[in-house]
Subunit: 126 residues, 2 copies
DNA sequence: TTCCATAGTTCATATGTTGCGAACTATGGT
DNA sequence: ACCATAGTTCGCAACATATGAACTATGGAA
């Protein structure tokens, strides 16, 4: 009877900048990470409900794995579901300012997109 | 007689965080970018001489292209060679603090690696 | 205890991306 | 006209990613 392989969490000194950048260069993973940064402990299906995206759960599972193995989040089973928390405190210690800068940049971009969308909306109406 | 397609430089508002993170998540591209941040105007083959790496020039060309199309560098032909400069001032305006944070993190990591290597060297000698 | 529902993982595979050698374009000098 | 230097493009192999189907894991209900 096959068992599921254990979750891999790299130790803080094995976390690389390349790994972090690659993990957060995907919009879905960036959104997951942002969500976790606000409401810690969110689960996979939880994220699906919150975001309006429609992502297959196998894909979502892989994204959580990518974040976990890049060292960005910690996942632990709690009953039937998987609680995920960011490892931002640890990472802030090793790479000060990196995560805040990335999250801020993502926010700037989201705000920009919002402005463009509103401008288009107005243009279409007027 | 076929011509070479023109270089693509995205306008500042088309530059995305995802694109920047992805471009700099590759160690070779991060090294190129770091080099350009110090000695502006460096060329492809210039980089090969400076770094001790041995990268095929076709690969290097693709890396420069990736950086260019992510909006991180500007390339222009100057005689027989291609001068590359970072677009850090523009990007700093759009995403304040992002590039400095990434470059600092890369430096932290390089310093860490140096310490580990020295420790190993000492252990082998003693 | 057996069965079921919910939550997530794994596997196979189709599709996308990247690395690199060979052949090409581009430019300046001889 | 030719050559050298600098870089680009092409084609293909190797690697990565997305996803449906089948699985594991856990807690509760019958």
């Amino acid at each position: 009877m096959p068992v599921m392989r254990p979750l891999i969490h790299p130790s803080i000194e094995d976390i690389t900048v390349e790994g972090i950048l690659h993990a957060l260069s995907d919009p879905v993973r960036a959104a997951i990470y942002a969500e976790l940064a606000i409401s810690s402990g969110a689960t996979c299906s939880n994220f699906l409900k919150i975001s309006d995206r429609d992502i297959p759960k196998s894909t979502l599972s892989q994204h959580f794995r990518a974040l976990r193995e890049a060292g960005l989040i910690r996942s632990e089973r709690q009953g039937v579901e998987m609680r995920n928390t960011t490892r931002c405190a640890e990472i802030e210690q090793r790479f000060p300012g990196l995560l805040p800068a990335i999250m801020t940049a993502h926010q700037v971009q989201a705000a920009d997109r919002m402005r463009v969308a509103k401008r288009r909306q107005k243009a279409a109406a007027g």
